[in-house]
């Protein structure tokens, strides 16, 4: 492997950026759709989105040759540069997701903050009241007390409720935009034939959504102490969402490889990087097997009800291992793409 200009910081950024974008999309969808039922997912995703994208953007800035000059990105707009478009997208994303996250902060955290900072106590207490979610009882995956499910935060004033939902509404296209941008950043470079296909953007977007669903499976139980019915519902819906995204991802990888095999020499040679070259192991075992095929098979069996008879400890183990595998695969996908792309040149 020769020297690569873009290294691990860019890989981690692309991973975290996609993850944060996916969290926002899923959180917004959970907030807006079937109000109240998926409040755990909405909260976990809202809290994670700005943190993950913030961390990623920090790495992006730190990777610059002149990090202190990063503000140069924001005194201009270069419509032909995907990086310029992406930088502005990230600013918008950070603002929207931060507002959304504040309006989704758990009341218990806010009360603890109120105790810690008595001067701001009243504000934290007010926010804690606003953010008190509606109690939605869920049994067998069906919410009861149907009259409550139209309003997920009954203690928020109307304006705050509208602001929260507006942030979620903008968050979906913005999150999809950031997810696509992480791929376009690579795909827009004709000099690197491995990247230069229209499919890399979709691949990164669906991988972002799939890894976000996986991360939310892990994090939702930590920030939402619902009853067993509710956490079961959250896990089941994330699992179904992930099945869609993971298969979309697979359906893009397959034509990606076929296209490369049938294409001009540059594309063929660059695909040999993953088909039978330095990145084959990471790609086939890490990305395809560990990140897609094994978790997709387990999720398929579980979604079909095939895992019901398993002992509880094994189920809990699977609910931890499968998301972790998806996350590892998602990271390796970025790693393989960033490095294999830089190993190839236009012939």
């Amino acid at each position: 492997m020769e020297h690569h200009e873009w290294g691990w910081m860019i890989v981690v950024y692309l991973f975290l950026g996609g993850l944060g974008a996916g969290c926002m999309v899923l959180s917004s969808a959970a907030h807006l759709g079937r109000r109240g039922r998926y409040q755990g997912i909405a909260r976990a995703g809202a809290l994670l989105a700005p943190v993950l994208v913030g961390l990623g953007s920090g790495l992006l800035i730190f990777d610059l040759g002149s990090p202190l000059r990063f503000w140069r990105l924001f005194v201009t707009f270069q419509p032909a540069s995907p990086m310029s478009i992406g930088s502005w997208l990230l600013v918008g994303f950070s603002v929207i997701t931060s507002i959304f996250a504040v309006l989704q902060l758990p009341p218990s955290w806010l009360r603890r903050l109120a105790a810690r900072f008595p001067k701001l106590g009243a504000s934290f207490e007010t926010l804690a009241l606003w953010n008190k979610p509606a109690h939605v009882a869920v049994r067998e995956g069906i919410s009861i007390e149907r009259d409550q499910i139209d309003i997920n935060f009954p203690h928020s004033p109307g304006g705050v409720r509208r602001l929260r939902s507006a942030m979620a509404g903008i968050g979906i296209p913005l999150g999809i935009g950031v997810g696509i941008y992480t791929g376009v950043l690579l795909g827009a470079i004709p000099a690197r034939p491995f990247w230069n296909t229209p499919m890399v953007a979709q691949l990164f977007l669906f991988s972002a959504l799939s890894t976000a669903a996986a991360l939310l499976m892990l994090v939702t139980p930590l920030v939402w102490k619902g009853d067993a019915g509710q956490s079961g519902l959250a896990h089941r819906s994330l699992l179904r969402a992930d099945l869609i995204f993971i298969f979309l991802e697979l359906f893009i990888i397959i034509p990606y490889i076929i296209h490369g095999e049938l294409s001009v020499l540059s594309a063929k040679e660059s695909l040999n990087m993953i088909l039978g070259g330095p990145y084959s192991g990471s790609f086939w075992i890490g990305v395809v097997l560990v990140g897609i095929l094994i978790p997709a098979s387990i999720e398929l069996v579980e979604a079909a009800g095939g895992a019901r008879k398993l002992p509880a400890r094994l189920t809990r183990g699977l609910h931890f291992i499968v998301p972790v595998m998806i996350l590892v695969g998602g990271y390796l996908l970025r790693w393989v793409f960033v490095h294999a792309g830089q190993d190839t040149a236009f012939l």
């Binding site: 040759g65 140069r72 032909a80 540069s81 990086m83 310029s84 470079i189 000099a191 830089q342 040149a345």
Partner: protein, 181 residues
């Protein structure tokens, strides 16, 4: 208006690398980096072998992907002459332009934290001098000039000799022309 271009005769190059030394000295290029190059490839084994020597530098494309990809506007095409440059005050060192360049013509100056490249010695052009690599070449491989001036040596060579552009199918419309006949 001028349209600066170069015609290079590979057959004249003897791989002495004087152009690289002259460039480094003239432009105070950081040790370990080069704005121009001589790439030599040997084929076969003795006594049946041949050697292909090819000097080069930034192609100063008419449609440069480095300029398009730059997020801060630091990479630009100089309106007078079409020279592709980097504004060192605006460059943030993201290296996106380096990935976008199909010719690998740019390098990252780690100490300065910015990307650097050939300028066609625009500071010398302003004084009516030729680029350092052109002036110093002992075998006169490089001919530099203005395509808008029909009387220039470059224009004459482009009229009379068969030339090719490197990676013309990349669509960047480079302005370095290599004699092939």
């Amino acid at each position: 208006m001028s349209r600066y271009a170069m015609v290079l005769d590979r057959a004249r190059c003897v791989d002495c690398k004087a152009c690289m030394v002259a460039c480094t000295a003239e432009n105070d290029v950081e040790i370990g980096y080069h704005r121009n190059w001589v790439r030599a490839a040997v084929k076969g084994t003795f006594p049946e072998l041949s050697m292909q020597i090819e000097p080069g530098q930034c192609m100063h494309c008419d449609d440069p992907p480095c300029v398009r990809s730059c997020p801060t506007g630091a990479s630009y095409i100089n309106a007078a002459g079409g020279i592709v440059g980097v504004d060192e005050k605006k460059c943030i060192g993201c290296r996106y332009c380096m990935l976008a360049c199909p010719y690998d013509a740019r390098f990252f100056d780690e100490a300065a934290g910015i990307v650097d490249k050939c300028t066609f010695c625009d500071h010398r052009l302003a004084l009516g001098q030729e680029p350092a690599c052109v002036e110093t070449c002992p075998t006169k491989v490089r001919v530099f000039g203005d395509l808008d001036d029909p009387g220039s040596e470059v224009s004459r060579l482009m009229r009379t000799r068969n030339t090719e552009k490197k990676l013309a199918h990349a669509g960047t419309a480079p302005n370095l022309n290599y004699i092939i006949d």
